[in-house]
């Protein structure tokens, strides 16, 4: 599903070139649950963003579902991730002005899905996550765990093949974190590929494979 071949990313500061990623080779099959670990600044989030096509890289190849991402144009890339990828963030990144319902609905609006269909899909999702009663609340009225639940619901609404989670439990207490991780396991069992970035060994253990990063390199 995902094939990173010799990925390099750097920034030029004056005459110095600082490498953020060096020669990342990573191959991920459909249905895997990958945990990326590593200390702060090791490039975990950057790898995740590159896989999510939100960030650019400087060198070599990235294949996603037989598409050569490095050859695609911005628009095509956007279309690709819109269709296949859902994102979950540490800080949830819900839109404060929208209700739970509207937050979940947003990706569908951008995919030009009709109102009636959207309604049904959001209702399903609310049901599945057991948050029907909270659909008219605003993010500020929810606990962190509940907000993240909404975040995941929003990521799942467009039926992605891949979920990218950047420290999804980072802002949650352990009990809430556990619930979220259980949810991920379940999703994985249903066939969704998951890549998460995490600091916690315990959470990393939920995954089927752990990738360690240090100073922009994969440690073997």
């Amino acid at each position: 599903m995902i094939e990173l071949k010799g990925i390099y990313k750097w920034v030029n500061t004056g005459s110095n070139r600082t490498f953020i990623l060096k020669d990342i080779n990573l191959s991920i099959k459909e249905g895997e649950f990958i945990s990326i670990m590593g200390p702060s600044g090791s490039g975990k989030s950057t790898v995740l963003n590159i896989i999510g096509m939100l960030d650019e890289f400087n060198e070599r190849e990235y294949h996603f579902l037989h598409e050569s991402v490095h050859q695609l144009k911005e628009k095509q890339r956007a279309a690709l991730y819109k269709q296949y990828i859902g994102f979950v963030f540490q800080a949830y990144h819900l839109i404060d002005e929208l209700t739970v319902y509207e937050n979940i609905e947003t990706p569908l609006i951008y995919q030009d899905i009709k109102t009636a269909e959207r309604k049904a899909m959001v209702a399903d999702m609310l049901d599945r996550f057991n948050i029907v009663g909270k659909k008219d609340l605003f993010p500020a009225q929810l606990s962190g765990g509940q907000q993240q639940l909404v975040g995941i619901a929003r990521a799942l609404i467009s039926n992605p093949k891949l979920i990218l989670a950047d420290e999804p439990t980072g802002n949650l207490n352990s009990k809430q974190g556990e619930e979220i991780m259980n949810l991920f396991s379940e999703l994985n069992k249903e066939g969704v590929t998951i890549i998460q970035v995490t600091h916690s060994e315990k959470n990393a253990a939920y995954g089927s494979r752990i990738v360690h990063l240090l100073d922009g390199r994969i440690e073997h």
Partner: protein, 815 residues
């Protein structure tokens, strides 16, 4: 402490250069507009104030109706002033101006110069008005006939070599074949620009050839100097007594009229009123003013608009300050934690806004300085930037930064200083931007003002265009006018024939009367019956024209025939217009008789005139006026020659005509113009208003957009996180731009909804000045609304697109 305030203020301005630039530039434009309008308004309001007796000088206005149109005149009879002075002790003095003779030909060296600023005045002129003498005694200067008082610059013009004194020297005035010398008895300082009359030559009234003692002919601008403390409104109540005692008996000599009551009952009017001299310039809508009047309406409108534009700029300041409060919030939080009191913070913010206003004012003065010549041109003024330092404006100018600083700075100061330190230090600063109803109201206000001005501009120019293209009943194009043909004397016919012989001239006519507002007028009373009664008579324009007038002006006959040489007796023939026929009640006017006084006998004997033709109606006055009655009689003398020109090379033709003129009238000034230019002159004040409206509209829109630009910039900055999330969730650039723009566009639409009825009301009021006018169509509103929307959209989308194409990863990092 104060020093610290200023230091921080300057640093803050410097740190946020873009933001400061928007504020300062916007305010500077607003202030510059204010300065210019202040100069303009002060000047308009200062008219005739230079007179020491300004408070006690009044002009007599007449309102007449004698079976014709309503006449509102600045003139009254020669007898009224002296009679009132004789009968009423409240009248300290009276003086008259007789300006009906128009231009004067004055000899300089061997040539003659046309002088327009000439009039005959009473010797009391200088007692009533304050016109200081440089030499000579003005009190007695005009007691004798053949005397003249001239202004300083005229003295320099005619006697450049005489540095010492021009008293006793002669001014030679040509009148027909003869040249009359007038002795200079005094030289006065030039009459100020802000005077409702501007003369360079004041001749003795004793030289006017007039049927003196006529209570019914109104030809003199008459001014009364009332004793201090006299209530002029109360004094006006004496006028009916004056009419009964003097005017009625005089009129009864030639009109069958029993009483004023009967006169009034038949729908006629004879009323006099007093107008304070200081109100003449701005409030008079009377005919035959000595100089074009201003308009108090425009003074109000301009003042209001200037104030609005300043407020718009202040609103930008408020909106931007509160919108970017997030940035200042942290500073406020830290200061509060460090123990700063709220009032200190308020002072800090106010110093900042005042400093901004002061810098803006300096720039505004610069802008005003550079724009003033242009403004003078448009407003037909000669204002100077130095007037800003006058005693009336200077204090206002010094106070201005404080007023503006307070106006623009108080709300942001109160708003920003009220932040709770804990909230802002926790980083919950997003609250600053959103949910500000006040800000929305202010943006709506800005755009409503802009849209109103846009509508105003479109309406004014549509009406002007309508005037330009309306069928007038005559053809104003390609008519060349030569003024001052009286100077040709006996050669006048020869001149006409010689010009007619030139190639490119199709017809020509000699007549003092032109179908434009600012040309000669002559009102006479006619009667349907041989004996004049109030019911049988009608007052109308009487034009003396020659055989070729109708053809040259492109007028058409509706019935009957034009004057013709084939009918020897056309001297007792008369042409009337369709409107006149209707007013007279003639269904078949051709062949009917009208009776008019003989030229030189006054009203005592009536001459019969036969109507030989009806001219299709044509507009001989401004389209502001309803068409009145008009008749034409044959006459071959006149001061103006008009030629219908077909030549492409008009310049060549004019120089050919000028050469001819020089041989036929040696030494006489030659001057020409085109009829369509004179026609346009009638609407000069509307053109001016239109131009100023455009400038105002552009300024208002510009300032509003400047503010909008700033707001969108900050909004985009505030919403970067949200934009990032939405992009990650699949929003396209278009989605994001829509997201950022739609709220503002909604505000603009609300503004349009508010602006439409107000603009409709205001412009309907304006356009009602015109008897002949356009309908204000819905399209004007649609166009103005769309224009505002489009401009707002461009402004907003510039920033919105920038925000939309930014990489979301940067805004979503979680550190």
């Amino acid at each position: 402490m104060i020093k610290n305030y200023f230091k921080i203020a300057f640093r803050n301005l410097w740190k946020n250069k873009g933001y400061s630039a928007i504020n300062i530039f916007g305010l500077a434009i607003g202030l510059a507009t204010c300065l210019l309008i202040t100069l303009y308004v002060t000047n308009e309001l200062s008219y005739d104030q230079y007179n020491k007796n300004a408070k006690n000088i009044y002009r007599i206005n007449s309102d007449l109706k004698f079976n014709g149109p309503d006449l509102h005149m600045t003139q009254t009879s020669d007898m009224m002033g002296q009679t009132l002075k004789k009968d009423y002790p409240q009248v300290a003095e009276f003086t008259r101006i007789y300006a009906n003779e128009g231009d004067k030909l004055i000899k300089k060296g061997s040539d003659f110069i046309t002088e327009k600023r000439a009039a005959f005045v009473d010797s009391t002129f200088f007692t009533v008005f304050t016109l200081p003498a440089i030499e000579g005694d003005t009190r007695t200067a005009l007691n004798q006939p053949n005397t003249v008082v001239i202004t300083e610059s005229t003295a320099k013009k005619y006697f450049p070599q005489d540095a010492v004194s021009v008293l006793g020297k002669n001014i030679d005035v040509k009148n027909g074949e003869t040249t009359t010398p007038f002795k200079i008895t005094a030289v006065i300082k030039d009459i100020p620009d802000n005077s409702h009359f501007k003369f360079d030559f004041l001749f003795s009234m004793k030289n006017v050839d007039y049927r003196w003692g006529d209570f019914t002919s109104h030809n003199f601008n008459t001014y009364l100097l009332l004793k201090p403390g006299t209530d002029y409104k109360a004094f006006e109540k004496n006028f009916p007594t004056y009419i009964d005692k003097y005017v009625l008996p005089f009129a009864q000599q030639f009109i069958k009229i029993a009483s004023m009551e009967e006169f009034r009952k038949s729908g006629n009017k004879l009323e006099y009123s007093l107008m304070p001299i200081t109100k003449i310039h701005l409030y008079s809508d009377y005919a035959f003013e000595l100089t074009p009047s201003g308009n108090i309406q425009y003074v109000y409108i301009f003042s209001a608009v200037a104030l609005f534009i300043l407020i718009l700029a202040c609103i930008n300041f408020m909106n931007l300050s509160t919108a970017r409060s997030a940035k200042r919030a942290k500073e406020v939080g830290i200061r509060k934690v460090l123990g700063t009191e709220r009032k200190t913070l308020i002072a800090q913010f106010l110093v900042e806004s005042t400093v901004t206003a002061a810098i803006s004012l300096l720039i505004a003065i610069l802008i005003a300085f550079f724009i003033l010549p242009l403004f003078n041109d448009v407003a037909a003024k000669s204002l100077s930037i130095r007037d800003l330092l006058g005693a009336k404006i200077l204090p206002f100018l010094i106070l201005l930064p404080f007023i503006v600083g307070l106006l623009a700075g108080s709300y942001p100061a109160l708003y920003l200083s009220a932040f709770k330190p804990i909230k802002v230090l926790k980083g919950n600063t997003n609250a600053g931007f959103r949910k500000s109803n006040l800000r929305n109201v202010l943006v709506i206000f800005q755009f409503a003002t802009s849209i109103m001005l846009i509508i105003g501009t479109i309406v004014v120019f549509s009406q002007l265009r309508y005037i330009q293209t309306k069928k007038l009943g005559f053809n104003k194009d390609q008519v060349l006018i030569i003024d001052g043909t009286r100077a040709l004397n006996k050669n006048i016919q020869a001149f006409k024939n010689e010009v007619l012989a030139m190639p490119g001239v199709s017809s020509g006519t000699i007549s003092s009367y032109l179908p434009v507002d600012n040309s000669s007028h002559s009102n006479n009373t006619f009667s349907k019956e041989a004996v004049m009664t109030t019911a049988s008579s009608i007052n109308m324009q009487t034009w003396r024209v020659d055989y070729d007038y109708i053809t040259t002006m492109g007028m058409e006959m509706a019935a009957g025939r034009n004057f013709s040489k084939d009918f020897g007796g056309d001297s007792s023939a008369i042409l009337i217009t369709e409107t006149t026929a209707k007013l007279l009640g003639f269904d078949e006017p051709v062949g009917k008789m009208l009776y008019a006084p003989f030229d030189n006998t006054g009203y005592k004997e009536l001459a019969p005139l036969q109507i030989i033709g009806v001219i299709k109606d044509f507009h001989f006055e401004s389209l502001k006026q309803k068409l009145g009655p008009l008749c034409m009689r044959l006459g071959t003398r006149g001061d103006i020659a008009s030629f219908k020109v077909t030549a492409a090379d008009t310049k060549g033709l004019v120089s050919q005509i000028e050469n001819k003129w020089k041989t036929l009238a040696p030494g006489m000034p030659f001057s020409y113009r085109f009829l369509d230019e004179s026609f346009d002159d009638m609407y000069r004040s509307e053109q001016r208003a239109g131009t100023i409206a455009i400038v105002f509209a552009i300024l208002a829109v510009f300032i509003a957009c400047l503010g909008l630009f700033g707001l969108v910039t900050y909004m985009a900055e505030q919403r970067t996180k949200e934009i990032g999330i939405r992009k990650v969730l699949g929003a396209s650039v278009g989605n994001v731009v829509t997201l950022l723009s739609k709220d503002f566009l909604l505000l603009v639409m609300v503004a349009a909804v508010i602006a439409f009825p107000v603009a409709w009301w205001a412009m309907n009021k304006w356009i009602r000045d015109f008897e002949y006018r356009i309908n204000i169509s819905v399209w004007i509103f649609v166009m103005a609304g769309l224009a505002a929307l489009l401009i707002a959209l461009i402004t907003v989308s510039f920033q919105a697109i920038k925000a939309a194409i930014a990489n979301p990863v940067k805004s979503l990092r979680t550190e």
